[in-house]
Symmetry: C2
Subunit: 313 residues, 2 copies
Amino acid sequence: MKSYFYLLPILFSAFILNAQTPSHTIAEKLGYPANSKLLIIHADDAGVSHSENIATIKGLEEGVVNSASIMVPCPWFPEIAAYAKKHADSADFGLHLTVTSEWKDYKWGPSASKNEVKSLIDPNGYFYHLVDSVKMHGNAKDVEKELDNQIQKALSYGIDVTHFDAHMGAVMSTPEFLKAYIKKGREYKVPVLLNSKIEALSELGDFELTEKDVMVDSVYQAYPEVYTSKGMEIFYEEILNDLQPGLSCILIHLAVNNEEMMAVTKEHPMWGSQWRQDDLDFFTGEKVKKLIADNNIILVTWKEIRDKIVRGE
Amino acid sequence: MKSYFYLLPILFSAFILNAQTPSHTIAEKLGYPANSKLLIIHADDAGVSHSENIATIKGLEEGVVNSASIMVPCPWFPEIAAYAKKHADSADFGLHLTVTSEWKDYKWGPSASKNEVKSLIDPNGYFYHLVDSVKMHGNAKDVEKELDNQIQKALSYGIDVTHFDAHMGAVMSTPEFLKAYIKKGREYKVPVLLNSKIEALSELGDFELTEKDVMVDSVYQAYPEVYTSKGMEIFYEEILNDLQPGLSCILIHLAVNNEEMMAVTKEHPMWGSQWRQDDLDFFTGEKVKKLIADNNIILVTWKEIRDKIVRGE
């Protein structure tokens, strides 16, 4: 009988690896100590306006902001796309996949042909204002087609896409949309922002997540009620002082509070122009740097996660 | 033999009418003395940006500007459309029919589905930058479809469309486009801006103009070379002091020279932000009012022309 004992060490190490892999933390996979406090400080909405673009660039260049995501269907997409292409080595840009057009006087529609994604557009040819309208009218096939168009367009502009996330959470808002979104991440081998609090996650049925579908442990965002209660600065201070080990993400929205941005956000004071300027001020200020250092927070990018986990062995 | 003599007076008056109608000047048709100096001070490009919208509104409300035209495919269309609807009784808004997207970092595409007007879009899904590209790639069927979409959308927003004109002259740039443009004017019973200097007019073949296709005698615009030679103020002063009897039109472009407009017009100093601010300053100033009064110039609107000539008996 041929002896296979020489295989035992290999089989044993494979067993150990299999047993251990699930328990490896994201931090370990990225090469940090298991209990590291990892943080992505992430600017949403790049491309929505010139104001948003210049503020996002300022946040990345002068602040602690270390990742951002771009709205491909928006009018100012080419401006931020050119910046992202030029700074592909140093900056971390993903796509803020977009199927809503939420402002009053300033609108955009799909990247796909309108008649190919009819369920996503309102009678004026724009995306719907509200996520609820997308949930009511949209079908997953159209969502998938639109996402493909946005991704292909971003790639054609030379953006080294590091991740996907979801503008207003619209493409996470139903189980079918969420599946399309996760599948796009797998197809293009980029991480997609996922977090256990996404309601539709519990309704995926037999669609199973894998270890490559990276879950962010905690996602923070200064919702309107924060703005009117404790204020942005205290809100962010508390997050940074209380940050737990694991992978966290603070979603911010950077804009210069100027005439353009005030007009874009007209009648939306709570997601408004000054709220965005406050984000810019805090995340380009000195206090945030000290809070990050004092709390031993390690800033990580989506590109690290993409290359070491999603595209890694 | 039956006598037809009783028809003579009728035939005679019909002959007189036929003989006289062509010699009626536009001024007479509008109810002014035959040799009046009629002028439309017309702001192009409304809808292109927020800056352009607020400046256009300022020009109409505080200046001598008495007509404007709106670019339907542009992102800020809904803002100016809402204003136009609200001020339909007092303001004169036409459509600045658009098949180009000329700026570098800020883009728009067709109102029609992209796959229905393929000859009008570049590989990124936007309109081409240049009129020459539209002439090279565009076909008249697609132009007509796109114009229909823009017109229908404007009407659905409640704009009382007074006239059509052509952004960058693109839809006047070939005989076939020009025919489509004139036909749209006839179809919707609105005047379209026409002037004998339009090159394609001489190439219309057996497509004949009628008395309802109103020709503007003189069209003025501060081309880039004006800006660098005599300057805008002297240019406009000379036009107003030398204005001839007939129907004239000064095409101006109003914007506030702010961060948004500087970014929109990046690398286009000659059609740029300050050039537009100069227009705003001149046409909301005191000097222009005096020049109009001193030269006995009568300001007329496209709505008058539409209602008294195109829709009149």
